[in-house]
């Protein structure tokens, strides 16, 4: 009950935010954050709940983005069709990725997806006639205002979290977690582990691909080094989920706000207050943050919330004891 009120309050806040804060800078930040909510949550479904850690989510993000871009480039139809087809296109690629990589388990699966991401980046870079290569794809934005983009991505993020919430309360969810805990035991319980790992991957790829298609529409420019980037997409995805809390519904959402916030603070050199060279330091701070989270908050901010509360309010505890 308390939770659904919190969700409702959050929902209203996000619905009203761009009306209350007309600054397009903050609207932009929130749009990017919400996009990361989608990607982080999708990754969390596959890695956090199903236990199949992917280092290659840029594959699905990039394929979604390129689906959108290529429609404009080759078919000359609106990039918005990509919002419908980017997800399914990413799922098609995911079928192949799953077919190859799910033969491997644990860290070997992670390494295979890492290699997959690099392969597809090289393909997108070199297949110039189809993807435009390093030149990238430039389209014309449909809207001057940020509001339509904001509400689209907000709806998508809400839909994504809601779907994952429903999945995790169903047979699929139980099966995903069983596979994470022990794949051999899961198989003995009548769970078709190959099938359910692929289902998890497909759902994850669908939302990530849709987020990619949205990115194309919103940013209006993509090139392989951005959308297939190991650093900016695949690793960032993992950080978002780990910092927020792996295998929690709201963890990746919280993680997205923190990571995009930190990234932006460094990019803007603390809104111009700090010397310029500090903007080079965001990778370092990301690294330190991950070390901190792994050492002290292994379950992420949401997963270890009770622990954070306990440390943050030591006084109340002694009161209660005395």
């Amino acid at each position: 009950m308390k939770k659904s009120v919190a969700v409702l309050v959050c929902g209203i806040f996000f619905l009203l935010f761009p009306l209350a804060v007309p600054s397009s800078y903050y609207q932009h930040l929130l749009i990017i954050t919400l996009m990361w909510v989608i990607i982080g949550s999708s990754w969390n479904l596959l890695a956090g709940y199903t236990g199949q850690v992917s280092f290659g989510h840029a594959i699905f993000f990039g394929v979604g983005a390129y689906t959108s871009g290529i429609m404009v480039m080759h078919l000359n139809i609106s990039a918005w069709w990509g919002m419908l087809l980017g997800g399914p296109a990413a799922m098609l690629v995911a079928l192949f990725v799953g077919w190859v990589c799910f033969r491997l388990r644990g860290p070997y699966f992670a390494l295979a997806t890492l290699a997959g991401g690099e392969i597809i980046r090289l393909i997108a870079t070199n297949w110039e006639s189809f993807t435009g290569g390093m030149v990238g794809i430039l389209i014309i934005q449909s809207f001057k205002s940020k509001l339509p983009y904001y509400y689209i991505v907000l709806a998508l993020a809400g839909l994504c979290i809601w779907c994952i919430h429903l999945i995790m309360k169903s047979k699929w969810g139980y099966y995903f977690v069983s596979i994470r805990e022990d794949q051999d035991a899961a198989e003995t319980l009548g769970i078709n582990t190959a099938l359910y790992k692929n289902i998890s991957l497909l759902v994850s790829a669908f939302f990530t691909g849709t987020a990619g298609a949205f990115y194309m529409n919103y940013m209006a420019f993509i090139d392989p080094h951005v959308v297939f980037s190991l650093h900016y997409i695949s690793i960032m995805t993992i950080l978002v989920a780990i910092v927020g809390g792996v295998a929690t519904i709201w963890g990746p959402a919280v993680g997205a706000f923190i990571m995009v916030g930190i990234q932006e603070m460094f990019r803007s050199a603390f809104f111009g207050l700090a010397p310029k060279w500090i903007s080079q330091g965001h990778a370092l701070v990301f690294g330190l943050l991950v070390i901190f989270v792994i050492m002290f908050l292994a379950n992420g901010i949401v997963g270890d919330w009770a622990k954070i509360k306990r440390i943050a309010t030591p006084k109340r505890k002694t009161h209660a004891n005395s």
């Binding site: 309360k169 169903s170 047979k171 139980y174 099966y175 977690v177 069983s178 805990e181 022990d182 051999d184 035991a185 899961a186 198989e187 003995t188 319980l189 009548g190 769970i191 078709n192 582990t193």
Partner: protein, 240 residues
Amino acid sequence: MPILEVKKLIKAFGGLIAVNNISFHIEQGEILGLIGPNGSGKTTVFNCIMSVFPITSGGISFKGRRIDGMKTHKICQLGIGRTFQVVKPLARLSVLDNVTAAAFCRMNTIKEAQKEASRVLEFCGLYKDRDKLAKSLPIGGRKRLEIARALATKPELMLLDETCAGLTPSEADEAIALIKAIRDSGVSILIIEHIMKVIMSISDRIHAINFGQTIAEGLPKDVANNPTVIEAYLGEQDHA
């Protein structure tokens, strides 16, 4: 028709023949004990039945249908439940969720699955621990959880792999009572066990193997008095 029939089963790992030409069958409603010294191939037989790895040759039929070569989950869906000797709890899930995940084998909605899981937990005496994490259970509880999880898939045949190992004598007695209750509910059982008291008191028949080969088969008392079995367990008799 026997519920399970294993014919001339051979399993080789490279040059090592772990199971060599073993044949046995289990009748409906029967408890068959599978005994043998350490490393004699008992668990390998289980793994062959569940298709954990492909068998080298021979045949395994469940209710008259060949199951060798099928996927493990398919065999479970057909009606064979299995427990692991080295327990494999879904560690970070609650006891109830462990069993619920198994109950989804026959159910589709979470409500039905949880209801079935609660029923099975009650039956296995784990209901009071349903909200604990599986990893927090002591070994006796984990062994019980293995049984409960297998039961929740509604098997017609259960393969129990040393479910009494590591238990205190009173826990072992409870486990024996539980296994008998499972049999009385109509489930046939193939059980591996080292504790002679357990295997002798619950088995209808016993199949003894050593070095992957059958050395004796028959009623518990006959097998227990079989010189080859005694030799396998205690070493050769001293004639001097």
